[in-house]
């Protein structure tokens, strides 16, 4: 069972470079999320999507863009990476109809280092 798959799992960037993190889920979930996790800061929501073609800002959206062109995929882009974006990024998904009481299914994380 694949569940939520994130690509790549590790990446090192130089300041100013761009990259895209890909999240794919095979559970037909409507809701998808991107979080970042930093030591002592917990999980913070970057952007989320409540359906194909829709996206919304979370708590810390600056410096990131997202797209949800297909229901199963949620892309997180960094146009000009900064050292402050060094973090572990987690994608998650949730089925429709259960709002906040539904279970979030997480990927294994993508560790990004910006030099």
């Amino acid at each position: 069972n694949a569940g939520v798959t994130q690509t790549p799992k590790f990446r090192v960037l130089k300041t100013g470079q761009s990259m895209t993190l890909l999240c794919a889920q095979d559970m037909n979930h409507e809701y998808m999320y991107w979080y970042r996790q930093d030591p002592g800061m917990g999980l913070r929501l970057i952007h989320y999507s409540v359906g194909e073609g829709t996206t919304a800002k979370g708590e810390v959206p600056d410096g990131y863009n997202v797209s949800r062109l297909k229901k199963q995929n949620f892309l997180l882009g960094l146009e000009s990476a900064a050292p402050s974006q060094t973090s572990v990024y987690f994608c998650a998904s949730k089925e429709i109809g259960t709002t906040y009481t539904g279970e979030l299914f997480f990927g294994e994380g993508s560790r990004l280092t910006v030099l």
Partner: protein, 112 residues
């Protein structure tokens, strides 16, 4: 202001000991979730509590939702090394509550 305050931030105990970790807020919630995250992995849902005063048990883990639905606790009986991990509480927030906000977590180490 942090929506959810978790305490303690770190906890290191010997195998076999009991422990309780807390998730507190000044806001009232309709439901609250607990997740456990092991090193190198994503969080995994342990339980959802929805009713004030509710108690749920998952083997050696006991979860309680406060009567006023502002706080929750997680009690582990006879901790084992396999309980080691980061314990996170989470609640719905924002318009439509599609957003889930997490506490900063309690990092538990159980020493054999």
């Amino acid at each position: 202001t942090q929506l959810l305050e978790q305490s303690p931030q770190f906890l290191s105990i010997q195998e076999g000991e009991n422990l309780t970790v807390y998730c507190n807020s000044s806001s009232v919630f309709s439901s609250l979730q607990w997740y456990r995250q092991e090193p190198g992995e994503g969080p995994v849902l342990l339980v959802t509590v929805v009713t004030g005063g509710e108690v749920k048990k998952l083997k050696r883990l006991t979860f309680q939702f406060g009567d006023a639905r502002k706080d929750s606790s997680l009690h582990i009986t006879a901790a084992q090394p396999g309980d080691t991990g980061l314990y996170l509480c989470a609640v719905g927030s924002g318009a439509g509550s599609y957003q889930l906000t997490f506490g900063k977590g309690t990092k538990l180490s159980v020493i054999p």
